[in-house]
Amino acid sequence: MADTVGGGLARARGGLGLALRRILSGGRKVEPALYEELLETLIAGDTGVAAAEALVEEVREAAIRRGVVEAEGLRDLVAATLAAQLGPAGELQLPGPGGPPGVVLVVGVNGTGKTTTVAKLAARLAAGGRRPLLVQADTFRAAATEQLSIWGDRLGLDVIHHRPGGDPAAVAFDGVRAAQARGRDVLLVDTAGRLHTRAGLIEELKKVRRVLAREVEGAPHETLLVIDGTAGLNSLEQARVFNEAVSLTGVVVTKLDGTARGGVVLAVRRELGLPVKFVGTGEGVGDLVLFDPVAYAREMLAP
């Protein structure tokens, strides 16, 4: 899906990329003030102080090792360090043909973009030849089913849902059965937004996961945390709790079409080892970018 990667790369040039290139531009020498600016730029992008300091420190050491004295010479180092800290590129890992249906569970706090991301992932999988089934395990939020059903209609995909107030795990169960009956090879399970501080709601989510794990071999094959790109360091707390509760496989960062930089993913990767798999760049169904840290960092800092 080269097109989506390309779309993401164009974005790399703005925001953080622009700010970094400005700092690391022609004529400047490598000096303490420059590292200070680098640090500030990262912090302003929501990386948090610890992750920013770690990155700058690594760059500083590499610069000394290689005897870099021109600011421009730091660009490659910053790109390489960023890429390394962000981890591998994040295609979905789903069972192949002949295997059980792939199960993708989408979780997160309120309003981050879960439902929209489920629709986007479904469109992407369908375009790749898969036959997805949408499952609305959000039985709480007003009109959550209507919202996903509208996406389902637009994409020509079925949506499994229950009545408002129903048991989310029961919807998940029905979803699995329906996928088997209708010959669908991927289940995309949307869940209600829940704050990670609500122990009862986290328990409810664990139950959804347990049902999926019991009903499908190896499921859920992907458990994605949707993080709002405009959010700050609280996302790290979210990632910590959700990861502990339902073993995340990666994160999706949404709303990066604004001026927010979603730098918190650096901290999430650093502290929890979770890779960014996709980036959301708009409200449309095509606005989902497969995230490739190496290409992204390179593009961000290229002259």
Binding site: E40, I43, A44, G45, D46, G48, V49, V109, N110, G111, T112, G113, F140, R141, A142, A143, E146, Q147, S149, I150, W151, L195, H196, T197, R198, A199, G200, D228, T230, A231, G232, L233, N234, S235, E237, K255, D257, G258, T259, A260, R261, V264, E283, G284
Partner: protein, 463 residues
């Protein structure tokens, strides 16, 4: 959950950090400028970790420093206290000193227009606000002016219906508007205009306008918002901001304020543990007050914002004012006296625990009340003490399934008793274990508080 508890949770980490700084300062006795600088560096870090905008942090620490290195502070006998006081004052100032209410138009209907980024909580806030205004004797009409997001109007209609609130989603149309088509703006303006007519017709004195989420950099959508503003002539435009927002909150708020114009803010999702730096930053850059905060998904979860109380909580000073207000409203005085005696004698049993839970539930959660006590916000173990609404009935069932003896002396509850209690209360042994742990933690805490005279008195009043 209510604001009280949530704020304590929200700011607890920041509070920890700041208290560390202050403890260090106190330990030093007399302060030099160097000490103050080191303290400022730490405060800077703590605020950044709380998502306060880095520019705001810079100005804040500079202004605190300026005041703190003045002679009267450094030479005072309690310099650390002075610094704490300055930080507290400046934090309060940063969030706007006084409580700001809504303005109504002299010619009804008054229009309150909600704007903001995607998923910030506008639709939910609209319903909460309508509910709040109705309880104050107003007749609100909710107008669903988001024609883009799938099922946005449905969402408002459903929420309105559930709360018995009147919702207007436009005159019935033959075919739905294509959300990506060119007619959306016109259709949106039509909903707004017909909403105003409907309000007049049905005698509503306030119109609450829910608009679609939009990015501040989306020119087309910002133009649309300006057009809506012009058509609706609101007496209040409120920017809805998610408390979890990071550094970008300031950019967003600045652009909305400049382009559309805003009169105040609603800060949502404060029921989580977001440290809420947005609260500090947004007010600072827009000069507009935070008028309400959202503290949950339910329609009643909206509270007025109190800057001074918030600052106290940030600094771990507790919120005794609120605590006393609430306690007086809910507690049984005779029982309190009795409990106080028990506490002093360290005889706090599971029966008392249950009794407390029942009373405290009338005021809010146990956790949030403890959090209001000075100093308690700092105690880590308390934050894990989860007694949420749903769990309450489980706790009650478990305690009621115990024998009297067990309630008085939980140490006798062994494995087989646990299984019996779990079966009797329809819970699991894990639930029973958790409760016993909570009880023992509460008891530990009480011992600790009872150890210091002043806090013990405070606790007596609390219960």
């Amino acid at each position: 959950m209510t604001l009280l508890g949530s704020v304590i949770v929200s700011f607890s980490q920041l509070t920890d950090k700041l208290n560390q700084v202050f403890r260090h300062l106190r330990g030093r006795g007399k302060l030099t400028e160097r000490d103050v600088d080191e303290a400022m560096r730490q405060i800077r870090l703590a605020l950044l970790e709380a998502d306060v905008n880095y520019k705001v942090v810079k100005e804040f620490t500079a202004s605190v420093r300026e005041k703190a290195v003045g002679r009267e502070v450094l030479d005072s006998v309690t310099p650390a206290q002075q610094v704490v006081k300055i930080v507290h004052e400046e934090l309060t100032a940063l969030m706007g000193r006084a409580r700001a209410g809504l303005t109504f138009s002299p010619r009804p209907p008054s229009v309150v227009m909600l704007v903001g980024l995607h998923g910030a909580g506008k639709t939910t806030a609209a319903v909460k606000l309508a509910h709040h205004l109705r309880s104050q004797g107003h007749r609100p009409l909710l107008v669903a002016a988001d024609l883009r997001r799938p099922a946005a109007q449905d969402q408002l209609a459903t929420l309105g219906r559930e709360s018995g609130l009147q919702v207007w989603a436009g005159a019935p149309r033959k075919a739905p508007v294509d959300p990506d088509g060119p007619q959306v703006t016109a259709a949106t303006l039509e909903v707004v205009a017909s909403g105003l007519t409907e309000a007049r017709r049905s005698g509503c004195d306030v119109v609450i306008l829910d608009t679609g989420g939009r990015l501040h950099v989306d020119e087309t959508l910002m133009e649309e918002l300006k057009a809506v503003r012009k058509a609706a002539a609101p007496s209040e435009v409120l920017l809805v901001v998610d408390a979890m927002t990071g550094q970008d909150a300031v950019n967003v708020a600045e652009v909305f304020a400049r382009e559309v114009g805003i009169d105040g803010l609603i800060l949502t999702k404060l029921d989580g543990d977001a440290r809420g730096g947005a609260a500090l930053s947004v007010r600072a850059v827009t000069g507009r007050p935070i008028k309400f905060v959202g503290t949950g998904e339910k329609v009643k979860d909206l509270e007025p914002f109190h800057p001074d109380r918030m600052a106290s909580r940030i600094l771990g000073m507790g919120d005794v004012v609120t605590l006393v207000e609430r306690a007086e409203a809910a507690l049984d005085a005779a029982k309190a006296v009795e409990l106080q005696k028990k506490l002093r004698r360290d005889e706090f049993t599971l029966e008392d625990f249950l009794d407390q839970l029942r009373q405290v539930r009338k005021m809010g959660s146990f956790q949030e009340l403890l959090g209001l006590l000075p100093g308690v916000g700092r105690m880590k173990e308390l934050r894990n003490l989860q007694v949420d609404e749903k769990e309450f009935s489980r706790v009650e069932a478990i305690i009621l399934s115990m024998t009297r003896q067990e309630r008085r002396d939980p140490s006798i509850i062994d494995g087989s008793r646990r299984r019996r209690i779990a079966a009797g209360s329809g819970t699991s042994t894990a639930d029973v274990n958790r409760l016993l742990k909570q009880y023992s933690e509460t008891r530990k805490l009480i011992r600790r508080l009872a150890g210091t005279g002043r806090d013990a008195r405070g606790l007596g009043r609390l219960f």
